[in-house]
């Protein structure tokens, strides 16, 4: 028999953070339902943290928890809470989390430039154009493996095996064969695309709109192909 020991270790996990100014149940319900409809499978039982930074109200956390459960989400805790909110959240059995380095840097709108530059104004307005990240996988993605590029493009040099899943919020590029599933625009962006060198996919999806293998078994099966969302449906076309 192996020994059963207890360990408590710190770990980091990706959590989705909800930003919403109005946390009343009715409004949140309709907003969330609409959001989830874009990619139902993607958010299924996803752990969620509510960001209260810009919210001074004292929401009914127990009712919120109930709502999340009904929507098949898991409300884990809150972040950016003030003292009263913290107490209420803790009473509802939620964790109070301290935000790490925020990657949702507040979008600072550059001040519109006036035609006559003011002398006293700071000489420059820094507008950061951050290139979208990409995640690069150098080998084959084997059956049973799942790779997710959060907020990024996904580039795979090898093949994606049957039963493997590659998911990206951005575009997906596969330089080998695609025999598994590829899910681009996973957070709902329908402008994202899937490019692959040899199309034999089990499933392709863009922003929650998917095709199974049988829809792909035409002209482009086993050939280089690009999948995109156009008008009201997915479109497959040649790569070059």
């Amino acid at each position: 028999m192996s020994e059963h020991s207890l360990e408590l270790k710190g770990s980091l996990f990706p959590l989705s953070v909800l930003h919403c100014s109005d946390l009343s149940i009715s409004s949140l319900q309709s907003l969330l339902t609409a959001k989830l409809a874009q990619a139902p499978a993607f958010f299924y039982q996803a752990p969620i943290v509510i960001n209260l930074q810009d919210n001074d109200s004292n929401p009914d956390f127990i009712a919120l928890k109930q709502l999340f459960t009904e929507l098949k989400l898991v409300l884990v805790g809150v972040t950016g809470a003030n003292a009263a909110q913290k107490v209420a959240a803790q009473q509802a059995g939620l964790a109070v989390l301290q935000a790490g380095k925020s990657n949702t840097a507040k979008a600072v709108e550059p001040a519109p430039q006036s035609t006559t530059p003011e002398r006293s104004a700071p000489a420059q307005v820094v507008v950061q154009h951050q290139a979208m990240d990409s995640k690069i996988v150098e080998q084959n993605v084997r059956s049973g493996q799942q790779i997710y590029a959060k907020g990024a493009d996904l580039i795979i040099k090898g093949a994606v095996g049957a039963g493997a899943e590659v998911i990206a919020d951005g575009n997906i590029h596969i330089y080998g064969s695609l025999r598994g599933k590829a899910i681009a625009g996973a957070s709902g962006d329908s402008s994202k695309r899937i490019y692959c060198y040899n199309m034999q996919a089990e499933l392709v999806s863009i922003a929650g709109n998917y095709w199974l293998s049988h829809s792909l078994q035409g002209e482009f099966w086993g050939k280089p192909a690009c999948i995109r969302w156009q008008g009201e449906s997915l479109v497959i076309s040649e790569l070059v």
Binding site: S143, Q145, G158, G161, G163, A164, G176
Partner: protein, 269 residues
């Protein structure tokens, strides 16, 4: 330091134990001091294939638990010098293996042997993970059919992510593809995947192709590793495989349909 080679597949019944026995025996024939370790705790088979089932006194789990030492437990093969078997326990289950225990035993074996062949159980659970965790090289046994190929793909993923080499960021496990039960006639009829098909899907280097052969079943039933049957096609194919594992370049045989001679056609081959 011994080289640790895991013989694995994901899927059951593709020929892991037959291949472990043949490769282990072949390495010993080539003068390498070799031990074959049966990781299939609870479903002990290697002893039967090796024909030493009546000589099992202690087993792998006894060694891990400190109830016996390696010297008492290792069974020396009577036909081939330099060849030893570490049998699995038949009365326990896979949970009897602990990572620390396995590591200790492998370290001890490593000091004395050139090659340690780990005969993995089927599946992707703890037993199979334990067999591949410490490996330097892997022989992935695959039959030319889709479910076996998919399971091999899954195991290849495990090899590159769940092994000690992967966890410590060392150079990855060297992966070899061993295609077994290959029947060129059925490939020609389109009933079986070809060598090229499998190579294309799994994208690893091919180390051997073992033809489907009556000799394998006969060998298993009589407790003789098939590699000792040098007359048989399967035996010869395993000999080639061992040479390739040792770095020799050997052309592949038994890939095409053998033309039947007049006599064979007359009386059936």
């Amino acid at each position: 330091m011994a080289k640790i080679i895991v013989v694995t597949s994901g899927k059951g019944g593709v020929g892991k134990t037959t291949s472990s026995a043949a490769i282990g025996t072949g390495l010993a024939l080539a003068g390498k001091k070799t031990v074959i370790v049966d990781f299939d705790i609870g479903l002990r088979n290697l002893d039967l294939i090796m024909g030493c089932e009546r000589r099992v006194v202690y087993d792998f789990v006894n060694v891990i638990n400190g109830e016996a030492n390696l010297k008492q437990t290792l069974i020396k093969d009577k036909r081939v010098d330099n060849l030893f078997i570490l049998p699995a326990s038949q009365t326990r289950d896979k949970d009897a293996l602990t990572k620390e225990g396995v590591e200790r035993v492998l370290n001890e074996l490593s000091a004395e042997f050139d090659f340690i062949i780990c005969d993995s159980p089927a599946g992707i659970e703890s037993g199979a993970m334990m067999a591949l965790y410490f490996a330097d090289e892997a022989v992935v046994v695959t039959n030319p059919e889709v479910s076996s190929v998919r399971d091999s793909d899954r195991i290849l993923g495990m090899l590159s992510s769940k092994s000690r080499r992967a966890e410590q960021g060392l150079e990855g496990i060297k992966e070899h593809l061993l295609l077994t039960r290959y029947n060129p006639e059925r490939v020609l009829k389109g009933e079986m995947l070809s060598v090229e098909d499998v190579k294309e899907i799994l994208a690893i280097e091919l180390v051997g192709v073992i033809p489907e052969s009556q000799a394998v079943l006969n060998a298993s039933n009589s407790g003789q590793p098939v590699i000792l049957d040098e007359e048989s096609d399967a035996g010869q194919a395993y000999l080639d495989t061992v040479k390739r594992l040792l770095g020799e370049a050997v052309p592949f045989r038994f890939l095409t349909v053998e033309k039947k001679g007049f006599i064979k056609r007359l009386f059936g081959g």
